[in-house]
C-alpha cells in the first residue's frame, strides 16, 4: 500500500502546483450554481408594449390602463400607423403590439363584440406564447369586469393552480441536479483523462510503469485526487443549494450521497476509458468536451426537456449517464422520494460502471503490451 500512497501524494502535488486550474475547478461550480440558480430564468417579465388605439374611447382607455397596471406589462409607446410596427420590432423596442379596431366601444355596446390584435415577436416561441397568454388573461378579466353585475356573469370556472414541489417556480430546482451532473462529469472524467494522457505524453508514465508499482495502482492513484476534489465540489454544491438557493434536500442525504458516488465512479471510469483511446492532451480535452460535456448539457434534460426531442435523440439520451443521475437526484432531492423510486436509475448507473470499467481495463492492458 505504501507505494500506492506515494503515488497519490504525487498526484496531489501535480494538482496543487497549478493554482489556476485548482481555482477554476473550485470556482466553476460556485459560479455555475449562482448563474443557474439566480440568473437563468425563463419567466417572462417587463414586457414592453406598444399600443395602437385608433378609436381612443372609454373602453380602450380603461383596458389600456388595466394592461399598464399589470406587473408584467409596461406600455412604452403608442403608435398611430401600422407601418411603424415592423420598425419597432426591428430595433427591438417592443415585445408586444396591441392594436384596437376602430370604433371599439361602439362595437362592444352595439353588437356585444369587439376585437383587437395582439402582435407578438415570435422569434422566441415560448416567450411569444407567454406574452399572448398574459395579455389574453388581462383582457378576460377586464371582460369579466364589465359583465359583472349583469345576468351575463354566469358560468365562471376558476382554475386553481397548484405548482407541486416548486411553488415559486425557481429555476434552481431544475438546475441544481443538472449542475451537479455537469460538474462531477467535468472534474472526474475530463481531468482524469487529461492527467493520464499528460503523463504518457511526457514519458513519465514509462518510468512509473517500470517501477515495482502495479500499473493498476498507478492509474488508481491518479483518480484519487479527483475523487477527493469532486467530493469537495459535491459538498459545496449541496451547501450552496441549501443555504444560498433555498433548495432543500427533501429526501435522504445518505441516499443522495450514495448515488452521487456511483455517478462519480461512472465519470472516473469514463475518464479512464478516454485516456486509453486518445494520444494527446488536447484530444483528451476535446473528446471529453464533445462526447461528455455537450451531451450532458443538451441531452440530459438539464436545460431542454427530453420529451420535446426527436425520437432518435431521445434514444441517444438513454446512454448518457448524467440523464439517469439527474433524474435520480431530482427525485431524491426535490421530490423527497425514497430508494424504491430510484431503483431503475441505480441499476443503470451500476451496469454502466461495470461495462465501462471492463472496456477500459481491457484497452489499458492492450496498451501496456
Amino acid at each position: 500500500m505504501k507505494p500506492f500512497f506515494a503515488c497519490v501524494k504525487k498526484e496531489f502535488y501535480h494538482i496543487i502546483r497549478d493554482v489556476r486550474t485548482v481555482l477554476i475547478l473550485l470556482v466553476m461550480p460556485v459560479a455555475q450554481i449562482i448563474i443557474f440558480g439566480f440568473a437563468i430564468s425563463t419567466e417572462v417579465r417587463n414586457i414592453r408594449v406598444a399600443v395602437g388605439d385608433p378609436s381612443n374611447d372609454a373602453s380602450t382607455q380603461r383596458l389600456i390602463n388595466e394592461i399598464d397596471a399589470n406587473p408584467y406589462f409596461d406600455i412604452t409607446r403608442t403608435i398611430d400607423n401600422p407601418k411603424q410596427i415592423d420598425n419597432l420590432f426591428r430595433r427591438d423596442e417592443t415585445d408586444l403590439v396591441i392594436v384596437f379596431e376602430e370604433n371599439f366601444n361602439e362595437n362592444l355596446l352595439r353588437t356585444g363584440e369587439a376585437s383587437l390584435q395582439l402582435i407578438t415577436d415570435a422569434t422566441e416561441p415560448n416567450k411569444a406564447t407567454a406574452v399572448t397568454s398574459y395579455a389574453a388573461n388581462v383582457i378576460k378579466s377586464y371582460r369579466n369586469g364589465i359583465n359583472k353585475g349583469t345576468a351575463r356573469a354566469n358560468m365562471q370556472i376558476s382554475p386553481e393552480i397548484k405548482l407541486l414541489y416548486n411553488p415559486q417556480q425557481k429555476s434552481a430546482y431544475n438546475f441544481v441536479p443538472g449542475v451537479m451532473g455537469l460538474i462531477l462529469m467535468l472534474i472526474c472524467a475530463m481531468m482524469t483523462s487529461i492527467s493520464i494522457v499528460r503523463e504518457r505524453e511526457l514519458g513519465t508514465m514509462e518510468v512509473l510503469l517500470a517501477s515495482p508499482i502495479k500499473p493498476i495502482s498507478v492509474i488508481l492513484a491518479k483518480t484519487v485526487p479527483y475523487l477527493t476534489l469532486s467530493i469537495v465540489n459535491l459538498a459545496t454544491l449541496l451547501l450552496l443549494s441549501v443555504f444560498v438557493l433555498d433548495v432543500p434536500v427533501a429526501g435522504s442525504l445518505g441516499l443522495l450521497s450514495v448515488l452521487s458516488l456511483l455517478f462519480i465512479f461512472v465519470a472516473l471510469s469514463l475518464g479512464l476509458l478516454i485516456s486509453t483511446i486518445v494520444n494527446s492532451q488536447p484530444a483528451a480535452m476535446l473528446v471529453s468536451g464533445m462526447v461528455l460535456m455537450m451531451p450532458v448539457m443538451l441531452l440530459s434534460g438539464m436545460i431542454f426537456p427530453i420529451e420535446s426531442m426527436p425520437l432518435l435523440l431521445q434514444w441517444i439520451s438513454n446512454i448518457i449517464p448524467a440523464r439517469w443521475f439527474i433524474a435520480a437526484v431530482k427525485k431524491i432531492m426535490i421530490e423527497g422520494l425514497g430508494f424504491t423510486y430510484v431503483l431503475k436509475e441505480t441499476a443503470v448507473l451500476v451496469s454502466m460502471i461495470a461495462v465501462i470499467m471492463l472496456i477500459s481495463l481491457k484497452n489499458f492492458k492492450y496498451r501496456l503490451q
Binding site: 439566480f38 417587463n46 422569434t123 383582457i139 351575463r152 393552480i161 429555476s171 431544475n174
Partner: protein
C-alpha cells in the same frame, strides 16, 4: 512579406494536424444538424391525467377539450387524486386536472365552479407553461358555456376577441430561434479559441522561442495565426447559411451583408479575447480550462437559451461586456426580423468597443522579450 511564409506554415500545419481539421468539420455538423433538435425548449407532449369526479356532459366536454389540445396528451384517467400523485412521483405524469363532483350543479346553480390543476414544477418552465395553458383552456371553455347560456337567455355577454398574430416566426418553431444563434457559437470557437490554443501550443512546445529569436515582428506572428482562422470562420459561416436554408428552410429576412459586417467586427472581438487568454496561459491545459470557464459563463449569460430581459438586474449588468450576447442578438434580428445596419448600429458599436479593448489588452500583454 514574412506574413506570406508564416501563413503558409500555419495552413500546412493545420491540414497536417490529426484532429484540427476534423474538429473544424465535425463541429459545424453537430452545431447545425443535431443541436437545433436537442436545444429545444418547446414544451410538447405534456403528460396529463384528468380526474373527473363529476362525470356529466359538462365535465366530459372539458376533458375532451384538454385532450384535443396539441400540448397535452391525456395518457390516463385516474380514479383518485392520490393515484394520480403516484403517477406524478414516478415521473410518468406532469400535470393533473381534477374536476370536483357537483361541478355541473355548482355551475348551473351558483354560476361558478372551480377545478384543480396540479403541475410538477421541478422544471419551473414546464410546470408554469403547462398549468397556464391548461387554465386558459378551462377559461375558454367557461366563455363558451357563458355564450351558450347567454344565447339561451337572450342576453349574450360582452365579448372581446383578441386576434393573435405571431410575427417573424409564425410556425412558432424553436429551431428557427436557435439556428442563427448557434452560428455564433461556431464562429466563437473557430475564430476565438482555436487560434488561442494554437499559440499556446507553440509556447508549450518551445517553437515560440525559436520564432522570438528571428526578426519576425510580433504583429506578423499573431496575424499569421489569426488570418487562416478568420478565413475558415467566414467559409464556415457561409456554409452555415447554406445548411440553414437547405435543412431548416431558413433564409435571412434581412441582408446577408449586414451579417458579414457584424461578423467581421465580432471576429475581431473574440480573436482579441482569445489572444489575451493565450498570453496569460503557459500550457494548453490551462488555456483550455480558462476557455471552458469563460465559454460556459458567456453562453449562459448570452440569451442563447433564456432571455436576458428575464435575468435579475445584477446578472443583466454582467452581460454588458459579453460579446456573445450582442452577436446572438444581431443574428436573430437580421435572420428573423430583417433588421438592417442602421437598426443595429448601437449593438455593432458595442462589439466594436469590445474588439478595441480586447485587442489593446492583447497587444499590451504580449511579450517577446522577458
Amino acid at each position: 512579406m514574412i506574413l506570406k511564409y508564416l501563413i503558409e506554415k500555419e495552413v500546412k500545419q493545420f491540414t497536417r494536424n490529426s484532429f484540427l481539421p476534423r474538429i473544424a468539420l465535425f463541429m459545424p455538423v453537430i452545431m447545425m444538424l443535431i443541436l437545433p433538435w436537442a436545444a429545444n425548449q418547446e414544451v410538447k407532449n405534456i403528460h396529463s391525467v384528468v380526474i373527473d369526479n363529476d362525470r356529466t356532459t359538462v365535465s366530459e366536454r372539458l376533458v375532451r377539450k384538454v385532450a384535443a389540445s396539441t400540448y397535452f396528451d391525456v395518457t390516463e384517467t385516474a380514479s383518485t387524486y392520490s393515484r394520480a400523485m403516484e403517477a406524478v412521483e414516478s415521473g410518468s405524469v406532469d400535470i393533473v386536472l381534477e374536476i370536483p363532483g357537483n361541478f355541473e350543479r355548482d355551475l348551473r346553480k351558483e354560476g361558478a365552479a372551480s377545478v384543480l390543476i396540479s403541475a410538477n414544477a421541478v422544471n419551473g418552465t414546464k410546470g408554469a407553461f403547462g398549468s397556464n395553458y391548461l387554465a386558459e383552456i378551462v377559461r375558454t371553455y367557461a366563455e363558451e358555456l357563458q355564450t351558450e347560456a347567454g344565447l339561451r337567455a337572450d342576453a349574450p355577454p360582452y365579448r372581446i376577441n383578441p386576434v393573435n398574430q405571431n410575427r417573424f416566426n409564425p410556425r412558432m418553431d424553436y429551431k428557427v430561434f436557435m439556428v442563427p444563434a448557434l452560428m455564433v457559437m461556431l464562429l466563437t470557437l473557430i475564430c476565438g479559441f482555436l487560434p488561442a490554443l494554437n499559440i499556446v501550443s507553440e509556447k508549450e512546445k518551445g517553437t515560440m522561442e525559436q520564432i522570438n529569436v528571428t526578426p519576425v515582428p510580433k504583429l506578423a506572428f499573431i496575424m499569421a495565426k489569426l488570418i487562416p482562422y478568420w478565413v475558415l470562420g467566414f467559409v464556415i459561416l457561409s456554409l452555415c447559411f447554406a445548411v440553414a436554408w437547405a435543412v431548416y428552410g431558413l433564409v435571412p429576412a434581412g441582408n446577408l451583408s449586414t451579417i458579414y459586417v457584424a461578423a467581421f467586427v465580432y471576429i475581431l472581438a473574440v480573436s482579441g479575447f482569445g489572444l489575451v487568454i493565450s498570453n496569460h496561459s503557459s500550457t494548453m491545459q490551462q488555456a483550455m480550462f480558462v476557455i471552458f470557464f469563460f465559454m460556459l459563463v458567456c453562453i449562459l449569460l448570452s440569451g442563447l437559451f433564456t432571455p436576458v430581459d428575464s435575468m435579475p438586474r445584477w446578472a443583466q449588468i454582467i452581460t454588458v461586456p459579453n460579446p456573445l450576447k450582442y452577436f446572438i442578438f444581431i443574428m436573430r434580428q437580421v435572420y428573423l426580423k430583417g433588421s438592417g445596419l442602421t437598426d443595429l448600429l448601437p449593438t455593432i458599436g458595442a462589439l466594436g468597443i469590445f474588439a478595441l479593448i480586447s485587442n489593446t489588452w492583447a497587444v499590451l500583454s504580449y511579450r517577446k522579450t522577458a
